[in-house]
Symmetry: C2
Subunit: 412 residues, 2 copies
Amino acid sequence: MGRIVQKFGGTSVGSVERIQNVAKRIIHEVDAGNEVVVVVSAMGKTTDELVKLATSISHNPSKREMDMLLTTGEQITIALLTMALHQEGYKAQSLTGWQAGIQTEDAFSNARILDIDSKRISDLLKDGHIVVVAGFQGLIPETKDIATLGRGGSDTTAVALAAALNADRCDIYTDVTGVYTTDPRVVNSARKLPSISYDEMLEMANLGAGVLHPRAVEFAKNYSITLEVRSSMSEERGTLVEEEVSMEQNLMVRGLAFEGNITKITVSSVPNEIHALAELFTILASNGINVDIIIQNVLNEEKTNISFSIESNSLSATQEVLAAHQAKLGFESISYEQGLAKVSIVGSGMISNPGVAAKMFKALSDQEIMIKMVSTSEIKVSTVVKQEDMIKSIETLHDVFELDARVPVQNT
Amino acid sequence: MGRIVQKFGGTSVGSVERIQNVAKRIIHEVDAGNEVVVVVSAMGKTTDELVKLATSISHNPSKREMDMLLTTGEQITIALLTMALHQEGYKAQSLTGWQAGIQTEDAFSNARILDIDSKRISDLLKDGHIVVVAGFQGLIPETKDIATLGRGGSDTTAVALAAALNADRCDIYTDVTGVYTTDPRVVNSARKLPSISYDEMLEMANLGAGVLHPRAVEFAKNYSITLEVRSSMSEERGTLVEEEVSMEQNLMVRGLAFEGNITKITVSSVPNEIHALAELFTILASNGINVDIIIQNVLNEEKTNISFSIESNSLSATQEVLAAHQAKLGFESISYEQGLAKVSIVGSGMISNPGVAAKMFKALSDQEIMIKMVSTSEIKVSTVVKQEDMIKSIETLHDVFELDARVPVQNT
């Protein structure tokens, strides 16, 4: 008998029929003798509808009130799913984030889980219940306010609960059958990976693969929890996310990630002082602007240009924040380029292969694709290209790195 | 500077525009220098939609899970209304039932408020906030489960908060402009009452006037809280519900209440034992069947007939419960008559006027309306008639007791 945490995303619980289907998935594990804790997201488009209501009242709604609003979505799902389990004759109880003992830092809309007091869940499991927990939410212990974990927070809830409860497995049910070499909706020959390492998954997730939230992957890595990403609509095995990737250990490039709607900002003639860079990005961070790639280009001893990429919908906020701090930061001007996209190759085999980046650049330039920015890590190379070149870039790289090959490509 | 509790029902917060309108109502009182606590219901049809979701999964959903589900409705409203107040530039914070310190008994779907720890609200008021509280819900302290207060529970929340916070006023905003002599949609000459006593309101509410929940009126009576029932759509003054009804103190009949879809059940030849009556109605109550009028008719020393009225949609449940307990209760047979309605006259002046009931019966019999059951209290006479006679009964009684008169009718 094992202890399993199962997480079902918004699409998997998007209708009454799907909730009933999810109940059967859960029961399958219970009948096999397992203790099961289930984490669910809000049904389908519920969150979007709530956001729409809020923005029709205020363009900049209070984050506390947004969290108050959005957490109702998961609360609806846990109640309905628990009713579906009762209907099948199983003992089950729903718990909101605060009831499940999920404690977060004192921050709204994007809080981190600090601790989980799992006693209530453990007691319910001991008593033979299936426990159905609202994902994406927790309680700030000091203020007794409800906080959300931000985008993809239900994944984090599931992994954190798996860690707190010493679960044997954490299954992430989603609307895709696993993690692919790249998005199969874009590249026909995209191939499902049987397994992927935490770090690779992290790079894929951060780069917009969208299957698993990066914070959840970090959590899983820290607590060595094996995740399985799989579909709630099929019986097919998914992709294991774990430390040891046995079969394709040395695969040079495991996958491609990409992300549109990128804007490149250039802040010109910043004083070339030791604190300049820190100051600039501290101000942006404290205003909630997510910066991705950063490039610094020193002009001379006194001045430097700094470029960075942001999501395009943060552009006006970024401009406002920078303008408000122009005197303090001392730069001359800001320019930006919209309509960009990021295309990245990911693979732990890259560490020992210095030629991988060069191969990528050459493949793109052979297709007359202009590279606007480059950023590299040990297991990833990201390039920023024009949005209109994004698909061609992915197809080219998928082909060049032979990601559709059934037999893993070894270091070349 | 006063302290005011305002309650807005589901229709008053039924859309974004109405929520914005409600915000203006609140601000009006704040600008006048008052501390304001607001209690809101779920938006318009939200509760019905949630109930529909639940019943599509289970015909008999767990009460705990129903409460988990339904309390999201009010949580959505408090967040949106608070955003609307922020948008107008006012400090405001939303609180769920458990955050507002509302503690209920250990019961789901129809829990009573046991206590309110109002510290959090008081602190927020002191800090200059408008406090927006989710109606209809509270926390069971022992189990940390969410419980609802049952139908009309938001009224009770408002009145209980008014008591706990020593509020100067409790304004109940609804979709009608006040309490009428009878339903103005049915009787054209129905007249709005400037005031009504708690007891009269209680009889009106119990009899289906539907404006204020009886539990809320009882609460208001116990704590001597003056309520004003008024419309959120107009500036018109409403109806005061208070102990001293100054202007129309001795009005014999203040209003008419009525309610359709009544079924009369007759349980025949029950053993005429001292515990029989208690046993029968204990069994019905413990199965959640609301019984209204009860008539016992002793046949002989050994047997008695018992008749009672229920809501027609409880008929099959009532039959099942009685059939299951036939051996225990020892009765011979059950019969029922559907398609009935209850019509009642209410007025504290009735206490000293023994002829009122007779006048009512005569007025109905003059119209050839057959009275099926009668029940009386100190300030009320209820009759059960055929559903098809309901409207004619009301019109007749409204006329006979001169309820459309502008000058209050004195004892005659």
